[in-house]
């Protein structure tokens, strides 16, 4: 079964959904991602759905769940690049993904995550070594 690749970028994970997701794939992604967050001790997750053209209630909920699960694992999740049609569909389905951060594109999403890491670093007294995996 195809799986959606999860890329590590510094302290963050990048998930780019390039194909139309079916239900199995979405479930697999949810499991893979939570496992990866735990393994890499990721601080943030970028979920790029700019190539996703069609969405149904199930996929919509899974996207929301992924974001909320990651949050519980202390990784901020930003959903980026949602297409207008997808956004309208989700709203019509009543899935407004409350509490999930969103951004227009990967770049902006990265900025949000970077700001968060920055803020955390600022609040801690001993400065972290750059590039090393955060604990």
């Amino acid at each position: 079964m195809d799986r959606i690749p999860i890329l590590k970028m510094g302290p963050h994970l990048l998930v780019t959904i390039q194909v139309d997701m079916h239900d199995q794939m979405a479930m697999a992604l949810q499991e893979d991602l939570t496992a990866r967050i735990d393994k890499e001790k990721a601080r943030g997750v970028l979920l790029d759905i700019s190539a996703l053209e069609v969405v149904d209630s199930f996929i919509g909920r899974v996207i929301g769940n992924i974001a909320l699960t990651s949050r519980i694992l202390d990784a901020e999740t930003v959903v980026v690049g949602m297409q207008p049609a997808v956004a309208i569909t989700l709203v019509e389905l009543g899935l407004s993904l409350q509490g999930v951060r969103t951004a227009l594109n990967v770049e902006r999403g990265m900025q949000i995550l970077a700001r968060r890491v920055e803020a955390e670093r600022g609040s801690r007294r001993p400065p972290e070594v750059r590039g090393a995996g955060n604990d």
Partner: protein
């Protein structure tokens, strides 16, 4: 079948035209149409009618033999819409031809049966032609209405860029479901195109807000948020504010401002930009001197 009618009527074309014109000129509206125009149209119509009759087509005017007559009637109908005729006045143009034709048939008829048959055919024919003008008339009207509706729809949903990354959507007129859909799609599309993260929805021009409208607005705002853009509502008038509260609609954590200017300031603040007054032509630091 109609060949017969042609044979009876054709030799008397000139008299028919004269009688018909006399009929029409009695009820002529000189402020709407000139006499020579009526003459010219009548002559043309009679000629086309006789031609169609000669071709022996049945009395069904949707046939190919009647294409010229139909085309001519469409032209007349369209021009009379512009001239300000009512549909019944336009149809009368055709119906008034009945009397001259009937009197001609009567003088030419050889038997009562023949007269009855011919009269019936002529009535059928002219009735359908007259109704056809009305139909075209109405279609023209509908076309105009439809075009204006579309124009209004397009005119009423402009999405403008106020600043780098700041869009504004000045809404004017009542928001119904279909319009909101267009507005919503236009806004979201522009957000993607311009990569704007703030959109100001200005409802100064919206006369009333009901539950449905508020619901639509909230949907648009939620959809924009899902895409990563923030919406600010501006221009809520006191009565509308009261209505919204009265209806029990919760705008949630949507930022609202009374004026577009206020919303613009919020947008600039969010982006970390600011406008500094330049005085006395000084530029650069922009501080007043």
């Amino acid at each position: 079948m109609t060949q017969r009618l042609h044979d009876i009527l054709a030799p008397h074309e000139a008299e028919l035209l004269r009688d018909w014109l006399r009929e029409q000129l009695k009820a002529l509206r000189p402020e709407l149409i000139r006499e020579d125009e009526v003459r010219q149209q009548s002559r043309e119509f009679l000629r086309l009618l006789l031609e169609a009759l000669r071709s022996g087509e049945e009395t069904d005017i949707s046939g190919a033999g009647w294409a010229d007559v139909r085309g001519f009637l469409e032209k007349i109908s369209a021009s009379r819409v512009v001239q300000g005729f009512s549909p019944s006045q336009t149809a009368t143009f055709v119906f008034s031809l009945k009397q001259p034709i009937f009197s001609r048939l009567r003088t030419e008829a050889r038997s009562a049966d023949e007269l009855a048959g011919d009269s019936w055919r002529v009535t059928m024919l002219l009735d359908s032609l007259g109704l056809y003008t009305t139909e075209v008339f109405q279609k023209n009207r509908e076309g105009i209405i439809l075009r204006q509706q579309e124009e209004m729809m397009e005119l009423s949903t402009p999405v403008v860029t106020l600043w780098e990354g700041v869009l504004a959507l000045p809404l004017i007129g009542t928001l119904d479901s279909q319009r909101t859909q267009t507005v919503m799609e236009a806004l979201l599309q522009r957000i993607v195109e311009t990569e704007s993260d703030i959109a100001i929805i200005d409802i100064t021009g919206v006369p009333t807000v009901d539950t449905l409208t508020a619901q639509h607005l909230l949907k648009t705002i939620t959809a924009a948020r899902l895409m990563g853009a923030e919406c600010i509502i501006s221009g809520i008038r006191p009565q509308i504010a009261q209505t919204i509260v009265h209806l029990g609609v919760s705008l949630g954590d949507v930022v609202t401002k009374s004026s577009l200017a206020g919303a613009f300031q919020v947008a600039l603040a969010r982006r970390g930009d600011q406008i500094i007054r330049a005085s006395g032509g000084t530029r650069g630091d922009g501080r007043p001197e």
